[in-house]
C-alpha cells in the first residue's frame, strides 16, 4: 500500500489546503493522474499521484489545511484492493465528517526530517545552556578580576550576569555602582590600567571628550609597581576623585545648628561609669545614632543621585569619615545605623575604625553609605563645611564640642556646644528641609537615653 502525501510544491511551501479531491474511494488511479487540487500561496495547483492502484482511503477533508508530508490518501495495489473490497466499501460509506482519526500528523513529523536543509538547523536548538549566562565582556572582566562566574548572582534578564554583578563580587558583594559613575576611558587605557593596577577614577583624561587615554594612565603616579596597592590608598584615591566630581557637579547648600551636648555628655559619663572598659561608649556614637534616627524622619536626605534623579535608599547606612594618619580619608558605612542597641553600634563602630586604620576595609563598606558623618571636633575645629560623597545627597559635619556661653532660662551659662553643619544637594532637598533635619537631630540628642 502506498501513501499519497501533501506534496511540497515549492521551496517555501510548508503547508497546503486540500481544496478538492478529484477521486473517490475505490477509484483506480495511475501514475501521473491528477487526483487532487491543493491551494497554495501561488494559487490552485493540480497534484498528480506517483503510484498506480486503487484509492483506499481519503484521510483529509476538502478545505483542511495540513503540513507538507501529511498523508492525504492511501493507495492500494489493484489486486489487494479487490480482495479488501468490503472494507473499502465501508470506507466509502463513511460520512465526510467521520474520517479516520488523523494519522496525518504522524507523517508530518517524519517526512520533512530528511530534507537536506535540516542539516543547517541541526543542533541549533540544543544550544548549551549550562553554566552561567554572561556576555563575553562580562566573562573577560570576571577573568581579569578572578571572579568565578558560577558564584555570581545575575541581576540581568533571565538571571544574566552583568558587568556590575561581577564588579560587585570583586569588591566583596557591593551594590552595583550607579551608571553615573562610568568613566570615559579607551579600551586600551582600561586594559593597561588593569595590568598596572592603576585606579582610573584618579585620572583626569586628556583624550577626545576628556576620555582617559593610555598616556594618562602611563603618566599617572603608581606608587609602587606592586600588583595591588594598599586597600586604604586605593580607597583614598577613589574618594579624592569623587570629591573633585562632587565639587564640580553637586549644587551644595549648607545649614548650621548649634547643639547643647550637656545632657548627652552627662548621660554618657553616667553610663560609662557603670560599664566595663571594653563596653565604654564615646560621644561620637551618640551623634551617629542620632543622625540615623533623624534620617528616619527626613528620608529625602537618605538617598542617592542616579541618572538625573534622586533614588531613595532602602536602608540607613551612615558612612563615618575616618581620617587616616598620613593624610588619607575613608568613609566606611555602618549598615543599618538606626537599628540594634547602642552598645552593639559602638562595637561595630570600634571595629570599623580599627579596620579603617589597619587598611583592611571591604570595598562594599566604602560604597554602600547612604549619607556621611564627618567629625573634626577632636582637632578643635569649630565647624565643618563638608563636601558630599557622590552619589549621596547629604553629609553631616560636626565641629568640636566646646564650652560656650549659652542662655538657659534667661541666664547665660557655660554649656558644651557642638556646631553641626548639614551639606546637602539642592537638586534633592531644600534648605528648609535641611534645617528641619538639624532641629530633629538636636531634639534627639536631648534625650540620649532613647538612642
Amino acid at each position: 500500500m502506498a501513501e499519497f502525501i501533501m506534496p511540497s510544491l515549492g521551496a517555501d511551501m510548508t503547508a497546503g489546503i486540500l481544496a478538492k479531491w478529484r477521486v473517490a474511494v475505490g477509484d483506480t488511479v495511475s501514475h501521473g493522474d491528477i487526483i487532487a487540487e491543493v491551494e497554495t500561496d501561488k494559487g490552485l495547483i493540480e497534484v498528480e499521484v506517483f503510484e498506480s492502484g486503487v484509492v483506499e482511503r481519503l484521510l483529509v477533508e476538502e478545505g483542511e489545511k495540513v503540513p507538507v508530508g501529511t498523508v492525504l490518501a492511501e493507495i492500494g495495489a489493484e489486486s489487494a484492493a479487490a480482495a479488501e473490497s468490503p472494507r473499502k466499501a465501508d470506507a466509502s460509506h463513511r460520512p465526510r465528517g467521520a474520517l479516520a482519526p488523523s494519522p496525518a500528523h504522524r507523517a508530518g513529523s517524519t517526512g520533512p526530517a530528511a530534507a537536506p536543509g535540516s542539516i543547517i538547523s541541526a543542533g541549533s536548538s540544543d544550544v548549551d545552556l549550562d553554566g552561567p549566562l554572561a556576555s563575553p565582556a562580562v566573562r573577560r572582566r570576571a577573568h581579569e578580576l578572578d571572579v568565578p562566574l558560577e558564584g555570581v548572582q545575575g541581576s540581568g534578564e533571565h538571571g544574566r550576569i552583568t558587568l556590575d554583578d561581577v564588579q560587585g563580587v570583586a569588591q566583596g558583594g557591593a551594590a552595583p555602582a550607579p551608571s553615573s559613575d562610568r568613566i570615559r576611558i579607551s579600551p586600551y587605557a582600561r586594559r593597561i590600567a588593569t595590568e598596572r593596577g592603576v585606579d582610573v577614577s584618579q585620572i583626569r583624561g586628556t583624550g577626545p571628550g576628556g576620555a582617559i587615554q593610555a598616556n594618562d594612565v602611563l603618566s599617572a603616579r603608581v606608587p609602587e609597581p606592586r600588583k595591588s596597592m594598599p586597600a586604604a590608598e586605593r580607597m583614598q584615591r577613589a574618594i579624592a576623585a569623587a570629591m573633585t566630581r562632587a565639587n564640580d557637579e553637586i549644587p551644595h547648600y549648607y545649614v548650621e545648628h548649634s547643639i547643647d551636648m550637656g545632657r548627652a555628655l552627662a548621660w554618657l559619663r553616667e553610663t560609662n561609669a557603670s560599664l566595663s572598659v571594653s563596653q565604654r561608649l564615646v560621644s561620637g556614637v551618640l551623634v551617629l545614632r542620632a543622625v540615623a534616627h533623624a534620617l528616619r524622619k527626613h528620608k529625602k536626605l537618605n538617598a542617592t543621585w542616579q541618572g538625573g534623579e534622586a533614588v531613595p535608599s532602602a536602608g540607613i547606612h551612615v558612612g563615618l569619615a575616618v581620617s587616616l594618619r598620613g593624610g588619607g580619608l575613608v568613609a566606611p558605612a555602618l549598615r543599618n545605623t538606626d537599628e540594634g542597641s547602642l552598645s552593639d553600634l559602638m562595637a561595630r563602630m570600634t571595629d570599623l575604625v580599627a579596620r579603617s586604620r589597619a587598611g583592611v576595609l571591604r570595598s562594599s563598606e566604602l560604597t554602600s553609605s547612604t549619607i556621611t558623618l564627618t567629625s573634626l571636633g577632636e582637632r578643635g575645629v569649630e565647624s565643618v563645611t563638608p563636601i558630599i560623597f557622590p552619589p549621596q545627597v547629604a553629609i553631616v559635619g560636626c565641629g568640636a564640642t566646646l564650652e560656650r556661653p549659652w542662655v538657659v532660662e534667661g541666664q547665660v551659662v557655660p554649656r558644651p556646644i557642638m556646631r553641626v553643619t548639614l551639606g546637602a544637594d539642592h537638586r534633592v532637598s531644600s534648605g528648609h528641609q535641611g534645617a528641619r533635619f538639624l532641629s530633629t537631630l538636636d531634639r534627639l540628642l536631648q534625650d540620649p537615653e532613647k538612642l
Binding site: 579607551s186 586600551y188 586628556t206 577626545p208 571628550g209 576628556g210 576620555a211 593610555a214 598616556n215 594618562d216
Partner: protein
Amino acid sequence: MTTYRDAVRTALQTLLREDSRVFLMGEDVGRYGGPYAVSKSLLKEFGEERVRDTPLCESTFVGAGIGAAVGGMRPIVEVMTVNFSLLALDQVVNNAAVMRHMSGGQFEVPIAVRMATGGGKQLAAQHSHSLENWYAHIPGIKVLAPATVQDAHDMLLAAVEDPDPVFVFEHQMLYGIEGPLDTEATPPSPWKAAVRRPGTDVSLIAYGGSVHKALTAAEELEKAGMSAEVIDLRSLRPLDRETILQSVSHTHRAVVIDEAWKTGSLASEISAILAEDAFYELDAPVARVCTLEVPIPYAKHLEEAAIPQVDRIVEAAKRTVGDG
C-alpha cells in the same frame, strides 16, 4: 623614474610578450591607445588579435573575458572607469565570482580586469566614484589597489598570474605620478598591506589614491609633533587583517581614509575589524575620513570638499589624541 602609466604599460608588454594566452581587450585600448594612454603603442607591437578594441558593451566583453579565461586564455580586460563597470556587474557577480564554486571546483576564471577609479579631475558624478568596496564585498574575486609605480607594475603581473578573477583598481589621479620601477626585483606578495611610513602615535590606513594624501598628512602631523604610521592596504580582498592589527596594536589609534562614501565603505569594514580584534588596543575611537554622502560634484571646490583631503586627515588624526 617611471610614471604609473608607463609602469602599467611595461607590465602589459611583459605579459603579452611572455605568455601567448594573454590578450588585452576593452574600449579604445587599441587605436586610441587607451583612455589614459596606458596601452599606447601596444596595438602596433602585438596586433589586433591580442590588443582588441571592443564594442561598448561592458557586460558582454567582460563576460567574454570570463568565457575566454574559462576556455584557457589569460585575458586582461580594461573597463574605462568603475562607473561603467556597473554594466558588467552581472558577469562579475553571477559568473566570474561563482563559476569555480558552482561547478564544485571544475572550472576556474583566471581573468584580470583593470579599471580606473576615483575622483579629482572634475569628471563629475558619472566618472569619479570609488566603488572598490562593491567588488571587495564579493567572495570569489580578488581586488587590488596599487598606489605606487612599483605596485602598478607588479600587481598587474600578479593579477594575470593568479588562478582567480582579480580586479585591479587604478586611481585616475595616479597615472601621472613618478617613482622608481625595478622590473628585476622579486615583488612582495600583492595580498599583504605595506607600511609606507612607520610611526608610533596613530595609524593612517589608506589605499590607492588616498595613500599619497595620508603620507602628506603624516608629514604635517610630524611638524605638530605626532608620529603617524601610514598603512597602504594594497589588497582590498583579501584584506590583510594582520598588518592592520599589528599597526594599531602599537599606535593604539587609527584613522581610515577611503575615497568611497562612508556608509558601507571599506573604512567601515576596517573599523569593524579593529572593533572586533583590536578593541583592547584602542586608545581612541577609530576615525574615518571618507567622501561626503553626495554624488561627486563637477565644480572644483565642491569636488575637493567632497573627497578626502590632507587637512581632513590631519584633523582626524589630531582628534584621536584629544586635547592633551
